[in-house]
Every structure is written in C-alpha cells, then in structure tokens.
C-alpha cells in the first residue's frame, strides 16, 4: 500500500480519483511509466540548447508534478519554463534540469519501492 511519504504526497491524487486504493495504485503506476521518457527528453533538449523544447516539456509535465507535490520540483519546473520561454538566464537551464531530474527520480524510486 502506498502512503504519503516524504518526497511526495498523494493527497491531491486522492482528490482527483477518490479514495479507491486500486485507482491510486494504477495512477501511480502510470506516472512511473510516463515521466521517465519526459525527463530523458528534457535532459537531451537542455544538452542541445533546444530551449523551446525544454519549455514545451516543462509545460506539459508541470500539472502532473503538481499532483504529487514532489518537494521543490514544481518551483524548479516553473522557473525552467519561464527562462526557456523568455530566453532569460539560459546558462542556468542545464543545472535546473539536473536538479529537477534528481528530485523527481528520488520520488519515483520511493514510489517504485512502495508499489513493489
């Protein structure tokens, strides 16, 4: 059974799908499947200075990250999207992406552990 542990919270998720544990498990599983390819795309785009693509991916996954309340991740992703969309502070983008990927990866790892 998944519980609300430190790096993320399931409260918002329960608000969307109700308290059915099966629904929550399925949605966590779906998140674990769908987020890693997006993180890979984010890293590759940042490495290749494809800032529009970084902004697009950040924009796309932002609501999902928000649903899990992954610690500090939402603020980083907002900053990333803003910088890339406006072409500001682009030298910080790679570092922000790394930091984001690390925080989400930790959360994913805990989720996987609890699913098992």
């Amino acid at each position: 059974m998944i519980t609300s542990s430190k790096p993320y919270s399931l409260n918002k998720l329960s608000g969307f799908v109700g308290d059915d544990p099966q629904q929550i498990l399925e949605m966590v599983d779906l998140f674990i499947q769908t987020i890693p390819p997006e993180l890979t795309l984010l890293k590759n785009s940042a490495s290749n200075n494809l800032y529009d693509e970084v902004a697009t991916v950040a924009h796309r996954i932002k609501p999902s990250i928000d649903v899990f309340d992954i610690r500090d991740a939402l603020q980083i992703i907002r900053t990333l999207e803003l910088f890339c969309r406006n072409g500001q502070n682009l030298h910080q983008v790679s570092a922000l992406v790394d930091e984001l990927v690390e925080k989400i990866s930790i959360a994913l790892e805990v989720m996987r552990g609890e699913l098992d």
Binding site: K12, L13, G15, F16, V17, G18, Q23, M27, L30, F31, T34, I35, T56, H59, R60, I61, K62, P63, S64, D66, V67
Partner: protein
Amino acid sequence: MSSFKIFIVEDDRFYGELLKRHLQLNPENEVVLFQNGKDFLNQMYQKPDMISLDYRLPDFTGDIILKKLHADYPEIPVVMVSGQEDVKTAVYLIKEGAYDYYVKDEDTKDRLWHIANKIRENKKLKNEITELKEEVGKKYNFSNIIGNSSGIKSVFALMDRALKAKISVTITGETGTGKELVAKAIHYNSVRSAQPFVAVNVAAIPSELIESELFGYEKGAFTGANARKIGKFEQANGGTLFLDEIGEMNINMQSKLLRVLQENELTRLGGNETVKLDVRLIVSTHRNLAEEVKQGQFRDDLYYRLLGLPIELPPLRQRGTDIIILAKYFADEFCRENKLKPKNLSPDTQKKLISYSYPGNVRELKAVVELATVLSDGDEIEPDNINFNATDPIANFLSADCSLEEYNRRIISYFLQKNDRNVLETAKQLNIGKSTIYRMLKNSEI
C-alpha cells in the same frame, strides 16, 4: 440513465487519465481521452456533449482547433484548459467561442466538475425544450382540427395558403369557434414553428396598459417602471404575434400599431433604441371589421394592412355532422384523460346534439360533452345526459338560421316529445291538423 459524452484532449497522458477518472466518478459521464489534435478531430463524428481541450498540443495549438470546432460544431461546448496562468489568453479564447477556460492548478478538478455538471444540466433542459416544442407542434397539427364539413374544408385550404407566405392573417368567427387554435396551427406548421408564438388578448388588457404590453418599456419610463420590460412584439420576434379581439383596440392605439407595422420596428416606451422586427401577425375578431371601419371605429389604413388573408370560421351550427365527429372526439379525449372506459353516443343523443344551435360553438359543445360523459353511467351517453345551458332559449332557437319548414319541424318534434308522442294532444296544442303530424312521422321527418 442517459450518458453524457465528454472528450478530453490532453497531451500529458498521466494528467489526461487523471481528468478522465475524475469525471468518471459521475457514472453518467462517458469520457474519451485523446493525446493529440489529429486523433481527436478524427473522432468528432461521434459528436460529444462537451470537450475539454488543452491549449498546447503537439500537433496544433488550441485556438486553431477551437476555430475549427466553432465553425463545424458550434453547438458543442468547448472548455479550454491550459497550464499557463494568462488572463489575456483566457479572454481571447472566450471571444473565439470557448464555453469556459481554466488553468491546471489545485482547483482544476472542482472547476471541471462544475463546468461538466452545468453543461449536462443545460443539455437536459435543451432536450426538454425540444421535446416540449415537438409536443406543441403535434398538438397543433392540422389533423387536430377536426371536421369534414365543406365550411371547415375551406378553412383548411386557406390555412394551407397562409403557411406558404409571410402574409398577415385575419381570422373572424363567433366566440368559441377556435380562432386561436387556427392561429397556432398556422404558426406551428409554418417555417417559423421553432420561434415563439405569442398570443395577446387585446380585450383583456386595459387600454392604458396595452401600449407598454405590446411595445415594452425602459426603466424609469413611468412611475413603477423599475426595470426594462420586453413587450409582446419583441417576445414574438422571428415568430408569430397573435392579437386576439383586435376590434377592441382603441383608435389612438391603432395609430401606434399601424406605425410599427409600417416601419417593422419599434421603440420601447421611454427609450431611444430602435428594435428591428420580423414578426408575422395574425389577428382575430368576432366583430365585422369592415362595418367598424364604416362607422369610424376602426382605422381603414390599419384594416387594409391587417386584412391579408381573411379566414372566416363557420359557426358550429353550420357544420352539420362535424358536431357528432367533434362530440365523439371530446368524449374520447375526456375518457382518456380521466382514465375512464370509452363511451359511445347513442343515436338519440346524436340527434339531440345535432338539433341544438350552440351559441358558444365548439367551446360549448366540449363543455356539454364532458359533463355528459361524467353523468352517463353505462357505455353510452344518453340524451338525458346532455344538458344545454343557453342563457336565452329563444335567441338560441332562432340563431339556428333554419328555414321556416325546419323551424316547424323542430317545434312539432319538441311538443310531440313533451306530450309523450301523443299526436292528438300535440295537434290540439299547436292548432294544426293531426294528419300533418302523421304525415311527418310517416316520412321520418320528426
């Protein structure tokens, strides 16, 4: 339980699934998820009841899809969704025809839930309105105006002509002949049937109120005008306005009505704004308007403008066996509405019904038959169950417009019945030869 189909277009598979499962908490919702604009547009033939559309998609931007949807499916509400908290975008999308707009944040689920509920309620109300309109249309179908007499057939022919053009119609006829029914039948069978039918009984509105009732007024136009009121003409815009008993309108108001009809526009009382009108006018009266014009009671210019297609409804006493057809119809309808066994009209009852002159016309016949249906005990309505209540029996008798021979026949028949079919007694009472009565009996004239 009728399903409510919602299409969600969301490129983030996880978030889309989240919205889908949230909306499916209401079992009435059938939710289908799409991750790109192309797949979504390919399925639009399914005509969903609501669309939740992400503003940024991999293959299209939301505003391009929104324009396409607005052009091809203007009746389907599209709710725009975006992760960007941009008021300008929201305003722009609403102007482009979006039903609503919300951003992806912690309020998303509640917003989407309430929007879906609102659209579902609107859909139910629209369906109810459509069903009611269809019911009304059926009720006023030509087939519901009953009768086979030549008089009523002439009316049908004129009504048919009235459907084909936006011509004014003047319906004349005695009280109770069905003038409003004919007006409604013309409206609900015309191209204007989806638009309003508004009826105004001119005789029932005090003369000092008729202008504001017909043309409306602005706030502050007079003491007590606390808010703008839309008049009957505006309510009927696009449809039909039925002015019942137009002959009762005073001369001053007639001039104002004429001006509105000439200009096809009006100005509300106390206002400056001109309102364009597209109203089909049907008027009715029990008076002889041409005579009223001669006597200076009705403006001749208004008379000619209103006249259009004149339809004169025959009084029931001139419709022969229509009386029996109508009586049977009213009896059946009354029995059905009151869950009673159907009742027949005995031959003597039919004779009695046909011999009466009906000063109140079809309305009176309906009341007489309904009462008879209640009073009858068996499967048949008997003559004793029929009660006529003419206020002036002599006027009623004479209003039958019969020949002298027919009046004679009726008088002899009446007294014969009163005297328990005693021919000698009847002949003595009427001071006529008994052979006259025997001859009439032999020839089945009485």
